[in-house]
């Protein structure tokens, strides 16, 4: 049972700050959208705008980190094991089957995670950032007057931003749940807090053995 340093300090900081910001942006955003009431409309707008700029700053740092460390390669989608991983979540997990993907420092994500996170990074987040920037700045005060981009109103921008928000909330629910599907119920959470995770394959191998005997029993 060897503990390995899986998540570096910046990575954890980035993850938790992003989590806090996205939750906060979600609450204030859906208040602006008219779905909930919490802070009061004017405060919600103010908080949402401030949080969004903090988020932009964080994104800039995260992009820098991903490219300088080469960690961006973690998110390259792959076909390998994709089907096996999906089958694991649909069937295997109930039979206590082993994880089909071996987690290591060099490959932290399973193929489904790679696909979903890549989707977030190249599609959902950029759409949210761009539509958010347009939302905030399509009217921009200059020295003596307020000018406006010629974008025919907010309709399209706001719809895109809302669709993105629904996708992020949906992701958030699944993401919270999948924390519990690690080696133990809390191992993923502990890893993202401390950075260390037991990546020893021994228990997995024992699980494979048990699984094989179970399957042979079923066959017989």
């Amino acid at each position: 049972m060897k503990k390995e340093y899986v998540y570096q300090a910046f990575e954890r900081f980035w993850h938790w700050t992003q989590a806090a910001l996205i939750i906060f942006l979600g609450v204030t955003g859906f208040e602006i959208h008219g779905s909930i009431r919490f802070f009061g409309y004017d405060q919600a707008v103010r908080y949402h705008n401030t949080a969004s700029i903090s988020f932009l700053v964080l994104i800039v740092f995260a992009i820098f980190w991903h490219f300088t460390t080469g960690e961006w390669r973690q998110y390259l989608p792959t076909w390998k094991n994709l089907r096996a991983q999906a089958e694991y979540y649909i069937f295997g997990i109930f039979r206590n089957a082993p994880h089909p993907t071996k987690k290591s420092v060099l490959s932290k994500l399973n193929p489904l995670q790679k696909l979903v996170y890549a989707g977030l990074k190249v599609l959902v987040i950029p759409v949210m950032v761009l539509s958010g920037l347009l939302y905030m700045f399509y009217r921009y005060p200059q020295r003596y007057e307020v000018l406006s981009l010629n974008i025919d109103g907010l309709q399209a921008v706001a719809l895109l931003h809302t669709i993105g928000a629904f996708l992020l909330v949906s992701f958030f629910i699944v993401h919270l749940y999948l924390i519990t599907t690690g080696r133990t119920v809390t191992s993923n959470l502990k890893a993202m807090i401390t950075g260390f995770e037991k990546l020893s394959n021994e228990p997995e191998e024992r699980k494979i053995e048990i699984h094989k005997t179970e399957m042979s029993e079923v066959i017989q």
Binding site: R12, F13, W16, T17, A20, L21, I32, H33, G34, G40, Y41, D42, V45, R46, N49, T50, A51, I53, S54, V57, L58, Y89, I93, F94, R95, N96, R139, Y140, P141, Y144, E145, V146, S148, D152, G153, L154, Q155, A158, L159, T162, I163, A165, F166, L167, V169, S170, I173, V174, L176, Y177, T180, I193
Partner: protein, 519 residues
């Protein structure tokens, strides 16, 4: 986690510092208050002029004395709409036409033709009793109506602009100066035959208002006078009303003093592109006394024992008058809101109408897509007024009666006769068949600006249900608008996701227990 929160805090700190502007020196607002706290005192004491101490028989003699020193000023007044009661305006679709009290109809007392003796009490001249009034005679200019500072000058009811017999002309002439709220208010607060009947935001409460009623005119505040905003160059006043005009010119704008970006918060400043100042800063109008919202002429003419009568409600407001019909009044009203680009159309005497829909006498133009348009607050005055059923145009009835048998409705209560006589005066045929049709007038609300803490709150417009702007369309308003497809699909996706997670997790727990039992 702790470090994460710490750095997050630093982020927020940096951002809020960056987003808030430094405010050490006095704000533009404070500078304006200082500027208007300084009240100008007259440089000359008119009570010392011997030529004003004599006894005046006719008011024209006062005018003669005024212009003997202030030469040329009467000519300026005679170029103003206060005098001409019309201005040449371009109306989209109708061309260049004279517009003004002299020519247009409204849905209150309808029009001045045939009724000059009464209506023209508020003309800035002496003796405009009929269409033959001499607009060229400078001695007919009434200097005192605007420049009386003694608050004793009043014009006679039914006197076509002549002063009331009680007025001591010599005393008034010795106490003249810059126009005060009392001068303007005497006419502009009482248009339509009573206090606050027409505008809703101009009424006698503004003679001595509190800050809550009007931050600018507040006696206990800046105590600004009408002419502080409605400035005049050569007696041409800045400002006009869309009841009698149609072009985007000569408007008094808040921005002239307050700039286009008066807020410290840029989110609010961005609103100024599409939202007029008045929209947020005048949350209610008719704050003190009621204004007329509906006037039904069709019920006029009921008599008791052959005599006209009046009915008032519990608050003492007229709700029925035999001479005018029935009314609905309102107090502390939320305005209606329209897109308005500064131009309006106008119903002109003789224009045909469609009796199946309410006729808009002065429709205000504008839409979200119009770069010149902003959302403005308006009072909508609705009425049922008389029209020619065969010719399909509004009737100018003769209402007041100068002599027996002249058809004046307020004496004879005969619409047929009032219509015949009235239509003669506007040179239009009358078919002999009259009816009543619904009309609407749009009155932009510009006065009774509230203190800052009473402005319209974000949630009053940015809300899904019953917001102030619920009736405005053609644009996306955050908090009010949404796409039902996105809401249903998005909401459905969240429900399914949540249900899926619960099922999956539940199954894991149950199967896990069974496994423990079997092993």
């Amino acid at each position: 986690m702790l470090t994460a929160l710490l750095v997050l805090g630093v982020f927020f700190g940096m951002m809020s510092v960056a987003l808030h502007k430094n405010s050490s020196e006095s704000t533009p607002q404070e500078k304006l208050k200082e500027q208007y706290a300084h009240k100008v005192k007259a440089s000359v004491d008119h009570s010392l002029f011997p030529q004003l101490k004599k006894k005046f028989i006719k008011p024209q003699q006062v005018t003669a004395e005024c212009i003997s020193c202030h030469n040329g000023r009467a000519a300026e007044v005679m170029h103003s709409t206060h005098w001409s009661w019309e201005r040449v305006e371009y109306i989209a679709g109708k061309g260049i036409r004279p517009l003004g009290k002299r020519t247009v109809l409204n849905n209150f007392c309808i029009g001045i033709s045939g009724n000059e003796q009464s209506c023209n009490k508020c003309h800035i001249g002496y003796g405009y009793a009929n269409a033959k009034f001499n607009f060229k005679d400078s001695l007919n200019v009434d200097c005192l109506a605007c420049h009386d500072n003694s608050s004793t000058y009043i014009k006679a009811a039914g006197g076509a602009g002549m002063p009331d017999s009680s007025v001591n002309l010599s005393y008034v002439a010795q106490h003249v100066g810059k126009p005060q709220r009392t001068n303007c208010g005497t006419c502009h607060f009482f248009g339509g035959g009573g206090n606050n009947v027409k505008h809703g935001d101009l009424e006698k409460a503004l003679f001595d208002p509190s800050r809550n009623v009007d931050v600018h005119m507040a006696s206990d505040g800046s105590d600004m006078q009408c002419v502080d905003c409605h400035t005049a160059e050569k007696h041409q006043m800045l400002g006009k009303m869309y009841s009698v005009s149609s072009m985007n010119r000569n408007r008094v704008e808040c921005e002239r003093c307050h700039s286009a970006m008066p807020h410290t918060d840029d989110v609010l400043n961005k609103h100024t592109l599409k939202v007029a100042c008045q929209t947020c800063h005048i949350p209610t109008y008719a704050k003190v006394n009621p204004t007329k919202l509906y006037w039904d002429w069709s019920t006029a003419g009921k008599l008791k024992n052959g005599q006209p009568y009046e009915e008032t409600d519990s608050s003492g407001t007229d709700v029925y008058m035999s001479i005018k019909g029935s009314f609905v009044w309102g107090k502390q009203l939320k305005p209606d809101y329209v897109w308005f680009n500064g131009t309006a159309t106008h119903y002109l005497v003789g224009d045909t109408l469609d009796p199946s829909t309410p006729l808009k006498l002065n429709e205000l133009y504008g839409s979200y897509d119009d770069p010149d348009a902003k959302i403005y607050p308006v009072k909508i005055h609705r009425a049922k007024q008389i029209y020619d059923v065969k010719n399909n145009y509004l009737i100018q009835p003769k209402t007041i009666s100068n002599k027996p048998g002249d058809g004046g409705y307020w004496k004879e209560f005969n619409w047929q006769r009032a219509s015949e006589e009235g239509m003669k005066l506007v040179d239009l045929p009358y078919s002999g068949k009259f009816g009543f049709t619904e009309t609407e007038m749009y009155w932009p609300v510009n006065h009774m600006v509230s203190p800052k803490d009473q402005t319209v709150k974000c949630m009053e417009c940015h809300t899904r249900e019953n917001g102030r702007l619920a009736n405005l369309s053609g644009f996306y308003l955050p908090g009010r608008d949404y796409n039902p497809w996105v809401e249903w699909l998005g909401g459905g996706m969240l429900v399914l996701t949540f249900a899926g997670v619960l099922l999956h997790g539940g199954a894991r727990i149950i199967i896990g227990r069974k496994r423990k039992d079997t092993h």
